[in-house]
């Protein structure tokens, strides 16, 4: 069935119906009694199912991978429509509503962010929306610091990481709410570091047919910011597109399309280094990590198709609300409440 032939309400109804069905399957398998009343949307249904099943030791092994696959499918759609990476939604929501320990959620979260970034990389590089010249110096700093962050995250007590995660997620929500990226920042003069590293380039903008040339300024402070970004990416397994884009765009002066494209590509390098640390520590359980990756990637494909018809502003505000909620829940978990 081609998704294009369905109207948007029909698609939403289809997702809600699928969510309800999956919830019913999950509840049946666990033997849990379901309460009546339909939830507002499919994500809420699956999250509710997850919360109800959390304390059920007798749940069949296949239930969680199926629930996770569906949950991540919806998450992938929402992430694309809201313009955020999958990892930033995955870690707080899955750690909040699923019974997995934070160690495994962060490991899977990094794999999810990594797979999405690797899949997007070739198209972005070929269109010159991602620039190797911009990415290489930044990636070296961010990926080195992501290793440090990963070790820090593994060494700190779980409740401390939960607290920091909650604070970070709430900060991201506020950042999404307040940041105003600029399509074409004005860079009058390239600084010495940017010039020495040749951090400039051009791309053909398909929407205007123009050749857009760009160069960086404030390169050194921008590069230093990636120390913090790398540590946070590794520590929480979040991916870091939410931080990469404002630094590349607002601080260093890269056009928005280059900032977004290079940020996505950067994740494939930054997350690789942190992912290896989590892999080596045994924090990647295939039974839960692979349905997460597959679900999110399938959701992203559907999300891209829905992008033309959906109302991204509404979804963006919805995601900000979800992040605030998930951040609050992580904070409460960290405080033992």
């Amino acid at each position: 069935m081609k998704m294009d032939r369905l109207s948007l309400p029909a698609k939403i109804a289809l997702f809600v119906l699928s969510g309800v069905l999956l919830f019913a399957v999950a509840a049946f398998a666990s033997g849990a009694a379901t309460e009546g009343g339909a939830a507002a949307n499919a994500t809420a249904e699956v999250a509710q199912a997850a919360a109800q099943l959390g304390g059920q030791p007798g749940v069949a092994w296949w239930v969680w991978p199926v629930v996770l696959l569906f949950f991540c499918f919806i998450l992938g759609i929402i992430a694309v429509l809201a313009g955020v990476g999958g990892g930033v939604l995955y870690v707080p929501l899955v750690s909040g509503f699923f019974p997995f320990h934070l160690d495994f959620v962060r490991g899977a979260g990094l794999m999810v962010a990594l797979a999405g970034a690797l899949a997007a990389g070739p198209g972005l590089l070929k269109r010159n929306f991602a620039s190797l010249r911009l990415a290489l110096p930044v990636a070296l700093i961010a990926s080195s610091c992501a290793i440090v962050g990963a070790f820090l995250g593994m060494a700190l007590p779980t409740n401390v990481v939960q607290l920091c995660l909650g604070g970070t997620i709430m900060f991201i929500a506020i950042l999404l709410l307040t940041s105003k990226n600029t399509a074409h920042p004005v860079v009058t003069k390239q600084d010495a570091v940017g010039l020495a590293l040749g951090m400039n380039g051009a791309y053909n903008d398909p929407s205007t047919g123009e050749l857009v040339e760009w160069k960086t300024h404030r390169t050194l402070p921008g590069l230093l910011m990636f120390i913090i970004i790398g540590v946070m990416a590794g520590m929480f397994g979040l991916g870091a597109g939410w931080a990469n884009v404002p630094v590349l765009n607002l601080m260093m002066g890269a056009p928005l399309k280059v900032a977004v494209g290079t940020s996505k590509f950067l994740l494939s390098i930054t997350d690789t280094s942190a992912a290896w640390v989590y892999l080596n520590k045994g924090c990647v359980i295939p039974l839960m990590a692979i349905p997460s990756i597959v679900g999110l990637m399938l959701g992203s494909f559907v999300g891209v198709r829905l992008l033309a018809k959906a109302k991204p502003t509404f979804i963006r505000y919805m995601v900000i609300g979800v992040l605030l909620f998930a951040g609050g829940k992580a904070l409460m978990k960290g405080l033992g409440m």
């Binding site: 320990h101 797979a115 010159n128 290489l136 040749g198 690789t272 520590k281 039974l287 990756i293």
Partner: protein, 142 residues
């Protein structure tokens, strides 16, 4: 000093090579992961940790999972690759290793153009990722 050529809006040859390698490696890795996962969950290959045991362990810290499930850390999984669960690590490791592979052709490409700084950056990145992949840094998990 940079030797950047005049911009045409087109991706540089080394960027295109990187993109092509990444495309085949990424989708190959994902396809492989899907196949091995089906082999795993359908029970064609017996897993090292029984499937019905995992839900009891994934809510515990990783240290408990490793101990109770008798799961090796680092590259110890290679010895168990014939078992359903560890078979999945082939695809996962391919995904995690793609960036290292894609960086290798960048070094001669930049050296050929006389861009020693970028060749050094590419080499340094490979070393950083290899150190992370080797598992030689860091102690045990909590």
């Amino acid at each position: 000093m940079s030797n950047t050529p005049k911009h045409t809006g087109k991706a540089s040859p080394e960027q295109v090579t990187y993109a092509n390698m990444l495309f085949y490696g990424c989708w190959g890795g994902l396809a492989l992961m899907l196949v091995t996962y089906l082999v795993y969950v359908t029970g064609i290959l017996t897993p090292h940790v029984p499937l019905d045991r995992i839900p009891q362990l994934w809510s515990q810290p990783v240290g408990v999972y490793l101990k109770e499930g008798n799961v090796p850390h680092g590259w110890g999984w290679v010895a168990l690759v014939g078992q359903g669960d560890f078979l999945n690590f082939i695809g996962i490791v391919l995904l995690a290793g793609m960036t290292i592979l894609c960086y290798i052709p960048l070094i001669p490409a930049y050296l050929k153009r006389g861009e020693k700084i970028f060749a050094a950056l590419a080499l340094a990145e490979i070393l950083v990722l290899l150190v992370a992949a080797s598992g030689i840094v860091g102690g045990g998990a909590h």
